[in-house]
């Protein structure tokens, strides 16, 4: 196996050489590995999916972004044959998720929101069980488990009960469990929720390496940063259907290019700062959640900075910062849905990504 363009320097660097060893080549590049059209699903009166369409080319990562309750998990459950759609069709690795569920199950790996492991078994015991359920003979299942455990940095904990594992270790083991058979298509439902930043970055590297070797990944997340960093393409879903689609850059451009942001020292200056900025801006001025910054799309771009700086000090506004900012995916989300993406901000996500 040749070196991967995305091979990383970490302890997980050798992961892909062992993870991806397929017996049959998945659909080649250019084909669609996951496609859904017009998916609908209701639970009682709640409409979880309202005509959802998706297409994920083989060997790419699709980030499915949406707030809690937007239909992310329902989408994953339909695509992994756990849930039957009321309407619409979906194909994974070329097979229909309803009528050819068994064929689909042979080609997918699922890592759900909670680490789906047997807490009372050892890490090794869990992987061997999954291998055997996938019809590997015991000896091969054990061999495969040992390989995955050492590649995921869990060899020392292989014979310990999963109960004693940390959150990051559980997640790695959970991911290892869905890689036992090297499935060509992986579904990761909020894989890094609840992880500390270091474990999160480690998982991101594993996911990148899998894709570098041809695995197709559908990843749901409520973390905009995660979708931004990992995904080739992003779909934003809300109310059970796709409301925007594109690369991270395309989505940001949709919101209206660069924005000028002013941060004031005192909250009391915010009102004045807002009206000064509104004078130079095009469209609405957005007030930051911390009530210390305002931002808006300014047609003149960076050229407007001196004028605005002068106008601010003339109005008596003491600024802490003034500059251009690329819109974040959160801005995209706000613009598209009218509500923020993540109602409960996760303190971990404020940490700078490496």
């Amino acid at each position: 196996m040749g070196p991967s363009p995305l091979a990383c320097r970490t302890t997980y660097g050798t992961v892909l050489s062992v993870i991806v060893q397929r017996t049959s080549t998945p659909a080649g590049l250019g084909t669609i590995a996951i496609e859904a059209s017009g998916l609908e699903k209701s639970f009682g009166k709640t409409r979880a999916l309202a005509g959802l369409d998706l297409a994920v080319p083989a060997g790419t990562i699709l980030g499915v972004l949406g707030p809690n309750g937007s239909g992310k998990t329902t989408t994953v459950r339909v695509l992994t044959t756990l849930l039957r759609p009321d309407k619409g069709t979906a194909r994974v690795a070329g097979y229909d998720v309803v009528t050819q569920a068994t064929q689909v199950r042979r080609r997918i790996g699922l890592s759900g929101q909670a680490a789906a492991l047997d807490e009372s078994l050892t890490g090794s015991g869990n992987l061997v069980m999954i291998g055997q359920l996938n019809r590997l003979p015991r000896r091969k299942a054990q061999q495969r488990a040992d390989e995955l455990l050492s590649r995921f940095d869990l060899a020392d904990a292989a014979d310990r009960g999963v109960k004693t594992y940390s959150g990051g270790m559980r997640r790695r083991l959970d991911l290892a469990a869905c890689l036992v058979t090297s499935p060509p298509v992986l579904f990761l439902d909020e894989p890094t929720t609840g992880l500390d930043p270091r474990s999160r970055i480690a998982l991101w590297e594993i996911i990148r390496m899998l894709v570098a070797d041809g695995t197709t990944v559908l990843l749901t997340t409520q973390y905009l940063e995660e979708a931004d960093l990992l995904a080739d393409r992003i779909v934003v879903i809300d109310g059970g259907s796709v409301i925007a689609e594109g690369t991270s850059d395309e989505l940001k451009t949709q919101v209206g290019g660069d924005r000028l942001q002013v941060t004031v020292v005192a909250e009391s200056d915010l009102g004045v700062a807002k009206s000064v900025l509104a004078h130079h801006a095009e469209g609405e001025v957005h007030v930051g959640l911390d009530r210390r910054c305002v931002d808006a799309s300014v047609p003149a771009g960076a050229a407007a900075i001196p004028d605005i700086a002068a106008a601010m000090s003339a109005a008596g506004v003491v600024m802490e910062d003034l500059g251009m900012a690329r819109p974040s995916l959160d801005d995209v989300f706000l613009t598209l849905t009218g509500h923020s993406a993540d109602p409960v901000p996760d303190p971990n996500m404020t940490a700078e990504p490496v």
Partner: protein
């Protein structure tokens, strides 16, 4: 390295015998998982080991002195047959908690996303739980001997009694599996055990002969499967069994009644459990 890692991709549409064979093997893998859990954490067996032990000691030494067995005979000998009846209920509760725990942790979703037979997950669980019943029987035999209980009718009859216990325990694990799929979380499953299984044990001839109960309660107690198992065990062990004087059919034919109850419970609850499991998980 050129290992074949996904043997499933080689096979496409499978014949029925092949599917049945793999369903059996998958059930076996999942049953072994249950055994491995217990080997790693023997405390999971407290329900079927320490708990019956405590009941035996409490009833023999605390209540036993105040309970007279109608028609004479030793209360020690009377009680042990009842404890065999009680053990199967503990097994069912273990199944309920186990099934609901797997659902709550998402492990059930993982199993369902694997290309394995739907029935294998529940079958594996039920078989593993049945093995805990074997442990319960061994514990009861040892405890019984320690408090003065004896087998009077020979080993063949005793093993027939153990067989009946295993049969109805198997049936009751399916009841437990149903309960486990219906409740929201493991705590609720444990509560169901307390609300449903505990009265089931007490409204029977497990601890006291039913003759002293109000008439309507006697009817319930005499038709309770736990009474049937307990009476069958007492008959087969040659222990005092005042219930044999009761005209209710299950008390006249406790061995047959145990078999009939088992068949009825399996016929109703095994398909129901698989159905509920499918529906719950497909929603």
């Amino acid at each position: 390295m050129t290992l074949t890692f996904n043997p499933l991709l080689a096979t496409h549409d499978e014949s029925l015998p092949s599917r049945a064979w793999w369903a059996l093997l998958n059930s076996f893998v999942l049953a072994r998982r249950g055994v491995e859990r217990v080997v790693r954490e023997p405390s999971q067996l407290l329900d079927v080991t320490i708990q019956p032990l405590i009941f035996v000691l409490l009833f023999v030494y605390v209540f036993g002195s105040a309970i007279a067995v109608p028609g004479g005979g030793s209360y020690h000998e009377y009680l042990i047959g009842g404890m065999f009846g009680m053990a199967l209920v503990g097994t069912a509760q273990g199944t309920a908690v186990g099934v609901s725990t797997d659902m709550a942790t998402g492990l059930t979703d993982r199993f369902r996303s694997l290309p394995i037979a739907r029935s294998a997950v529940l079958t594996g669980r039920v078989v593993a739980d049945l093995l805990t019943e074997v442990v319960a029987i061994v514990v009861l035999v040892v405890t019984g001997f320690a408090v003065g209980w004896r087998i009077h009718n020979g080993l063949a009859d005793a093993f027939l009694a153990f067989g009946l216990c295993l049969l109805i325990a198997f049936a009751m694990t399916w009841v437990g599996a149903c309960a486990g799929t219906m409740v929201k979380n493991p705590e609720a499953a444990a509560a169901v055990g307390f609300i449903f299984f505990l009265p089931m044990v007490f409204i029977s001839n497990t601890f006291v002969p039913t003759q002293g109960m109000p008439h309507w309660l006697q009817v319930v107690a005499n038709w309770n499967p736990v009474s049937a198992v307990a009476s069958a065990c007492r008959n087969l062990f040659g222990n005092p069994n005042p219930s044999s004087d009761i005209s209710a059919w299950p008390m006249q034919h406790p061995e047959l009644a145990t078999v009939a109850w088992s068949i009825a419970l399996i016929a109703i609850f095994a398909p129901l459990a698989v159905h509920l499991y499918r529906r719950k998980t497909l929603r």
